[in-house]
């Protein structure tokens, strides 16, 4: 047994450095390691298991690195018992954390290509680190487009960052909501309708999609119709993850486990399972 590596099944204590509200039902937690930092590297797309003591554990994607680099930010929607308990945390509180786990968005593989990022709802959280990575070495990529859809304008995440993504890094940011009243002057319609409205060369484009599965299915169809090949489309899958290391089988997805083989998959590799009711 290697004692220098932490046991992936044992949560490490992390302190809540900051907690803030992103939208009416979504918040972010900035977590710093208590005691000596084990590591804070992660690859965009990976997730951590956050443990609210006495309540339960939940997989949450890393939505950014902490500003001073010694921790992680997680964006969480308050939708159940564990996420509600995490929402009740205050600065200085302690939680358990295991991770990071899982596969990553293909940032290096996208060098030299145009990149289309499609996010639905809270799906922007796991894609934000990918966008940061692309912007960090902006000159290595062609056109970058972010197509982001949410149910209502008040559900949109990270809106205060959009202008900098557009202005400073030349990202084509297109935002749409499913319904709105007249106070909203942006787009209304599903996110897939945004694809023809941005510039990219379909033959040299990598697409990264995260959102509800039904949205991803239509997004893939639309991208394919626009000429993007299946090998260049990446999706992230969500299932009920428990152990996060492929032991328990809760997140089995055909022959794969979402926690260790995913959550990011190349579309052509999961295509046969993508629309199977039984999976």
């Amino acid at each position: 047994m290697n004692f220098s590596e932490p046991d992936p099944m044992v949560p490490q204590p992390y302190k809540v450095r900051q907690i803030w509200q992103e939208t009416h039902d979504t918040f972010s937690l900035d977590l710093e390691p208590k005691g000596p930092s084990l590591h804070s590297e992660f690859a965009p797309g990976q997730f951590n298991m956050l443990y609210a003591f006495g309540v339960g554990e939940v997989p949450i994607s890393i939505s950014a690195c902490s500003k001073n680099g010694d921790g992680w930010i997680h964006t969480i929607r308050d939708v159940g018992t564990v996420t509600h308990a995490l929402h009740q945390l205050r600065e200085g509180d302690t939680i358990g954390l295991r991770g990071p786990f899982g596969s990553a968005w293909p940032i290096d593989e996208s060098k030299g290509s145009d990149v289309v990022i499609m996010a639905g709802g809270i799906g922007l959280a796991p894609l934000r680190p990918a966008l940061y990575a692309l912007m960090e070495s902006r000159k290595n990529f062609g056109d970058i487009a972010l197509l982001y859809g949410a149910r209502k304008p008040e559900d949109l995440l990270y809106t205060d960052e959009f202008e900098s993504w557009r202005g400073k890094y030349g990202v084509q940011v297109r935002v749409t909501v499913d319904n709105a009243d007249r106070t909203w002057s942006g787009n209304v319609g599903v996110v897939t309708t945004m694809i023809p409205r941005v510039n990219f060369d379909p033959l040299q484009t990598v697409a990264m999609i995260c959102g509800p599965e039904i949205m991803m299915r239509y997004a893939v169809l639309e991208l394919r119709q626009n000429g993007v090949s299946e090998e260049n489309i990446y999706v992230t899958m969500e299932r009920n993850m428990k152990c996060a290391v492929g032991f328990c089988g809760h997140c089995q997805f055909g022959p794969a486990f979402i926690c260790k083989d995913g959550p990011v998959f190349r579309y052509d590799r999961v295509k046969p399972l993508f629309s199977l009711r039984e999976v």
């Binding site: 929607r77 159940g80 018992t81 499913d178 007249r182 787009n187 209304v188 319609g189």
Partner: protein, 157 residues
Amino acid sequence: MKSLQSIIETHPFFKGLDEPYLELVTGCASNVRFNAGEFIYRQDEEADTFYIIRQGKVSLEICQPGHEPMVLQTVSEGEILGWAWIVPPYHWKFDAQAVELTRTIAFDGKCLRNKCQEDHGLGYELLSRLLPVVGKTMDASRLQLMNVYGIKSSEGV
């Protein structure tokens, strides 16, 4: 200055349309501009115009009595506005309002219908272009109805 026909032929909806058909549709067309907030048409009015959008954004709205209007869809540059001009009884189902300054090419619906009636080849061309737009709008409406971003209480952890 660009001719009306050259503007029409570069719009995605008419791209690749044969010259004789382009001339026919141009005969029904005019340049029309709407200021932000201006209504382009209202629900139940006669649908006598077909628009292609050159610039700007238009919201399609529905209004229930006693409620604020709800925006169902926005259409913008490179897209089209309205197909009720070709579907009897030729009445608009929604309100269309310019969200920002919007430049369009407006086609007289009756003029287009007559030309389609006289030349079924043109009719086929226009319907082949219109039907995918209708189909995609229908797909999108179904997705909107599904409320895919909502989470059922049983799904949350």
